[in-house]
Amino acid sequence: MLATLLCFNFLGGLYMSFLSHLISGVSLGSIYAIIALGYTMVYGIAKMLNFAHGDVIMVGAYVCFFAVSRYDMPVIPSILLAVAACTALGVFIERLAYKPLRSAPSLAVLITAIGMSYFLQNSAQLLWTSNPKVFSSVVGNGSVKFFDGRLSISYNVIVTVLACIVIMSVLTWFTGRTKMGKAMRACSEDKDAAQLMGINVNATISMTFAIGSALAAVAGVLLCSVYPTLMPTTGSMPGIKAFTAAVFGGIGSIPGALLGGTLLGVIEIFAKAYISTQLSDAIVFLVLIIVLLVKPAGLLGKQVQEKV
């Protein structure tokens, strides 16, 4: 009798810890998904990999950090300020560094993007030093308890997952239902044809950078709420992982970014919990390699369409 009870308790504990890992995985994955959206939308329309995207996240987190801790601004206006700053930064980067290369070979654009990434990191170091700042969570560190306290879900997790759901729904509506969103899809399919419809392709590309960078700001705030160490290199690794997530899900596809991001987050947390903390990143990238070997266009990737 006692043995059975103990056994149930033990299994229950295993189940609860599994559930709690799964929840943190989904939460981390939601952040990756929000970042991956920026990569995937820009790739879909400008056909370029904006490797500076990760560093825009870092800038967003710094703006929010300073607004809250130095200027004592309330949380919501601080986040909005970060969003506005990143939107402007994203549009500015595109105008300054990528637009002049619109018809240049893709390698030149790629190298420019990597250069822009280092430029942002080093500018941040110059402005804000490389001393880590301690970011305090925008929603506080409380949590909601379930099953007599055996499972606790932090406010961070709840807000992150909700933010991801809201962003995904709004973007799906935007690209599927609005004229501007449809024009973005038209541009991503055929830029010349889109121009012949009277769509201003340059304005559409700017718009895409604006949306992607605004999302990067949100991701930066959410990321630093969970992992509070803020440094000029903070955006770099999540940026690369989110890029991985975008490729994993199928670059250019919005649902792919969601799927890829979530899976990547869950794999990473499970690898940390059940295999090895040190190896978790290696495992994440190993999974990516395997998926790409089997499905080169990613999980939801569109195969290049043949002309009928």
Binding site: K179, A186, E189, D192, Q195, G198, V308
Partner: protein
Amino acid sequence: MLKVEGINVYYDAIHAVRQVSLEVDDGEIVTLIGANGAGKSTILRTISGLLRSGTGNIYFMNESIRAMPPHKIVERGLAQVPEGRRIFLRMTVEDNLEMGAYTQKSDGIGGDLERVYTLFPRLKERRKQVAGTLSGGEQQMLAMGRGLMSRPKLLMLDEPSMGLAPILVEQIFSTITEMNREGTTILLVEQNARMALSIAAKAYVLETGHIAMQGDARELAVNEDVKKAYLGG
């Protein structure tokens, strides 16, 4: 309505269009015929602003459009149905048409949609379908309907009969005539010279980038040189 004066277009070192001038008057059907690679599409792409001519000028409704971005040219009422149709394969038929009306106010396109559906009833049946699933003929209808959605004063059609079965070619050409009767001026680029000359008022014959002959379409259709080169003797 459209006046092209001495344009030259290069692809890197290749001189694709040499000193081309042409004119389209209000209400006309004008055709530009010539062999594959003669530079017909290049001329249309240049008029639409996708390519640039270093010399000469292009006037539409007495306004120079030579340096204008493509979307501004569409706003002026000069639209193009490009070669190879170039419809948005992953979007629905109706979304494609809506993109055609991008320069129009969203709430005012209902009438234009009806007009396109009257011209092409097949498109109405398939309006919720993804365009990539349409047959070649239906895709051409969609491309033409999409071109009409911007309410163009002048519509340029690039090889609308390409790759279509003879019966569909007939249908496409009769639709072009109908669009013209409803008030749209047409500049038609074709390899099917016989059909093009039969509906056009005026024609230009393009040879390796320059205009070799021009004149009344009916006269060109009986011209010995044209017959030999483009009408199969």
